[in-house]
Symmetry: D2
Subunit: 306 residues, 4 copies
Amino acid sequence: MSHHYQSILASIRTEVLPLQHDGAVANYIPELMTVPPERFGMHLRTVDGHDFAVGDSDEPFSIQSISKVFALALVVSLVGEKIFKRVGVEPSGSSFNSLVQLEYERGIPRNPLINAGAMVVCDVLIGQLKRPKQELLAFVRQLAQNKRIGFNERVAASEKEFGFRNIALANFLKSFGNIQHDVSDVLDLYFHMCSIEMSCRDLATAFLLFANHGTRPGSTDAVLTKSQTKRLNAVMQTCGFYDEAGEFSFTVGLPGKSGVGGGIVALHPHRYAVATWSPRLNAKGNSVMGMKALELLTTKLGSSIF
Amino acid sequence: MSHHYQSILASIRTEVLPLQHDGAVANYIPELMTVPPERFGMHLRTVDGHDFAVGDSDEPFSIQSISKVFALALVVSLVGEKIFKRVGVEPSGSSFNSLVQLEYERGIPRNPLINAGAMVVCDVLIGQLKRPKQELLAFVRQLAQNKRIGFNERVAASEKEFGFRNIALANFLKSFGNIQHDVSDVLDLYFHMCSIEMSCRDLATAFLLFANHGTRPGSTDAVLTKSQTKRLNAVMQTCGFYDEAGEFSFTVGLPGKSGVGGGIVALHPHRYAVATWSPRLNAKGNSVMGMKALELLTTKLGSSIF
Amino acid sequence: MSHHYQSILASIRTEVLPLQHDGAVANYIPELMTVPPERFGMHLRTVDGHDFAVGDSDEPFSIQSISKVFALALVVSLVGEKIFKRVGVEPSGSSFNSLVQLEYERGIPRNPLINAGAMVVCDVLIGQLKRPKQELLAFVRQLAQNKRIGFNERVAASEKEFGFRNIALANFLKSFGNIQHDVSDVLDLYFHMCSIEMSCRDLATAFLLFANHGTRPGSTDAVLTKSQTKRLNAVMQTCGFYDEAGEFSFTVGLPGKSGVGGGIVALHPHRYAVATWSPRLNAKGNSVMGMKALELLTTKLGSSIF
Amino acid sequence: MSHHYQSILASIRTEVLPLQHDGAVANYIPELMTVPPERFGMHLRTVDGHDFAVGDSDEPFSIQSISKVFALALVVSLVGEKIFKRVGVEPSGSSFNSLVQLEYERGIPRNPLINAGAMVVCDVLIGQLKRPKQELLAFVRQLAQNKRIGFNERVAASEKEFGFRNIALANFLKSFGNIQHDVSDVLDLYFHMCSIEMSCRDLATAFLLFANHGTRPGSTDAVLTKSQTKRLNAVMQTCGFYDEAGEFSFTVGLPGKSGVGGGIVALHPHRYAVATWSPRLNAKGNSVMGMKALELLTTKLGSSIF
């Protein structure tokens, strides 16, 4: 079986290589544009502890929006499902709509994986934790079993300097009363969270939590209940891919989350978690090579949930 | 195993019975209000041909929006994936948003399971079929293996008389050029399609197509390719439950579709299809008892895809 | 003074002539495209009964949206200000916004000069009049003192055949309960109203009502009270020029109304009414030569209200 | 004539007094709530230099949005009409719509009298002036002929602390590139501008500029050209009263501007400027007693422009 997974990953790498010049690296903050655009890495880790990898799978990159899943997991582990009184669990349509929606629904973001929703999550974390940034980072390090994971302060600073739309969103939420702490504190946590750098190996390891009913493989302490884990997987399934949730559901058929840094992580409940990284993005903000790699994976494994 | 399923359904019935007075029967067209509100039925049919049922599972009811899945399956079997040039595959957010979206995206509905999207599907069917209403009905009858399935002309007439919002939507689509035939013909097909009456047994039988990679169990002729089937399941998963897609994904974790007539049908790929019926709806338009029954089913079976 | 006005109109004609190839004839319904595009006419009539005219000022053309002012005047004369419980008096922003607004404000159009608002006015007229089309036409004929004014049935039919967006709007209003009669009856009145053909002379004569505190010059019977007249002038001032109300307020500085048939009519309270006609429109749907002619008029007369 | 104006103002005061408990003081920032709610003042100044006043007409109050007119006048005097490439001149519909519109039209505010538009004006002022706050204040002082006019630093600080929606708006504009300087600098100028305190006498004196074709009565130096003045009056006429521009156009019929501090100022071109102040606001944010007082004034004078 090990050999099987490894050969599949090797053939996937060969098949996606011709796409390495397709798409464009994210340019909404200058710091993200410094990454070498032709990278490709993939790492699959099974629930029973086997690792399979190809390419630049050990190179840390900016996980960006993937971090929203970690923040959500942490907040659910701390306050439970009551977080969903302040943020919904439904997909949001396009980003144009998500702003209109926020106004129409008086400041309740549609789900915790759009920016506005993740900001509300950050606001709750600030109320629950003494040192929110450090404790969130510690949580991620533990899930990934890697103490070297850290923030990229240049990326966080770049977001703070150029992330006007996010600053606007946070202030809108505050105007509706759905942010309780200082906007600048919420944004500081949010921007740092997005700047976390991890490798494909780190991400696959960390996401096993969601493939293993809320408990890290090898651990006996549940981080999340089974029901909470199911909730998070459902949210990832319907809301994890910006304006391409339906497309990802079809092509890959697994719950997951992507980031504008070019990372994608997905999981097959009870079986494995898998992460890919390649910086060039399609028009909807998802990694071109990563989307293709995951499509090939579930096709070859016959492991789409559909 | 048979005994197992049957006892699960029996216990579900007992557990949902206390909810029989919760929620309200759909009232947006007068004809739907004539149904006895306390009904409850459930039918599960496995891919290998076993049937399990409780309650009013053989009583036909108005399937309403569930019919959109049949229309979509038929159109995909006729023209393939090119239908997705005229209608998207992404969730739409709230119904308020779906109108704004339609305007913002120049007449391309977000997906084929919202009203506007189903109208575009109807428009394509009219161009492909000589007698669209009869041929769509024949398609449904064959999938359900029941020749007595028919339209409810009173319900169709009631829609035509009171469905002003749908008439508005069809004319908007036409103004954007995304309806090619007469608006009145498209609406006639659409309203008839929604008026189809089927029982839980019929629906579970028909939806096995989607649980069985596009081929009716027992048949050798594929109606849909495996890829097309996966597409439809993915669309149902992310777009099948109005503004409750995320919630259904969590509580039930299966692809499915609901209708304001109180029906819900869902499927576990490679295993079974299951239909419930109970007319009282929650605030988001989905059957109260049906949602609970399906949640209990996947909990008891451990068969959520998450 | 007579000579003064006449020489001003003559010089205006000379000055606007170079613009005769600028802009494009309305093409949203085929029938409107048959008009000769280079026409220009202008007619000014003073409150004390003097007429001044240049160009094609006696040629009837499709008044289109200008008719909304007549319908509004008639409905106010019949039911008074209570019409403003069902339609607002505030500008609507862009046409994109006006749809969003209609949804957001549950079917109350922003003002009676946008299409949705005029449809509500038509609905009220149907409830007040035995033969709404004939009686509205009679009202217009009397104001213009011209019994030959009539509907253009081909234009009305063309609207009915191709005016999908208007049909959509009427059905939306009906879905909100803000249309009480049959949608088809409301649209029949609306489309006929828009198809009325009048000359510049007719329009200037008719609009003296609004320049003369609600009473036709020479008559002793008030059609509207002074307060009602002020209301209509204020509505024209803030809402009369689609998405160019502010621009018209600046360049011309008079209350008025334009139509996609190329007509514009404006009035200086207590002094005169003036109408222009030229079919080519600017990007916002207002006559290029007409806008310029009226700007020149108020500049030369120093008669902007600002 | 003097006696005439004075007796009219006296009778207006008597007539509006019964309304002194209607409406509510603005509460969106705490500092504004400290004002005594029953105040009423009114000051009318003619172009030829006569003053008429009743009530608390010499008491300074927070002019809030009225300041946008001063900023606009200053920017037009500095850069001319090219400001209108970055901000429109059309009404915006409701505040809900103005956000949607800003998104839909890619960051170009509809007009300079909504908050977003005034922020763009501030951004231009920052680029044109060495000490923007001081120079804007000097401009206002000169127009009002009163050197004691100043900012209220507590109000400005309160806005900075609680004006989340405005902070959001400024960052949105920046994200679209329609703010060129630091968001914090733009907001600092904007919040200070809104905190200016002036009396009715000050406002009536200052607004004579707009009633006197762009030149202060008694001065020979034009601040604005006649055309620029006409533009500003037209913008005030169509956009000066939040969501009540049409209503004000009808009841008062003069160009003007209101503020949530309870002030309203209006002008009759070539005749006079008039300011009222009373802190209780109606549901749309305009002073209850002020609106009534101005309606009575134009009714009694017969001086509505309609």
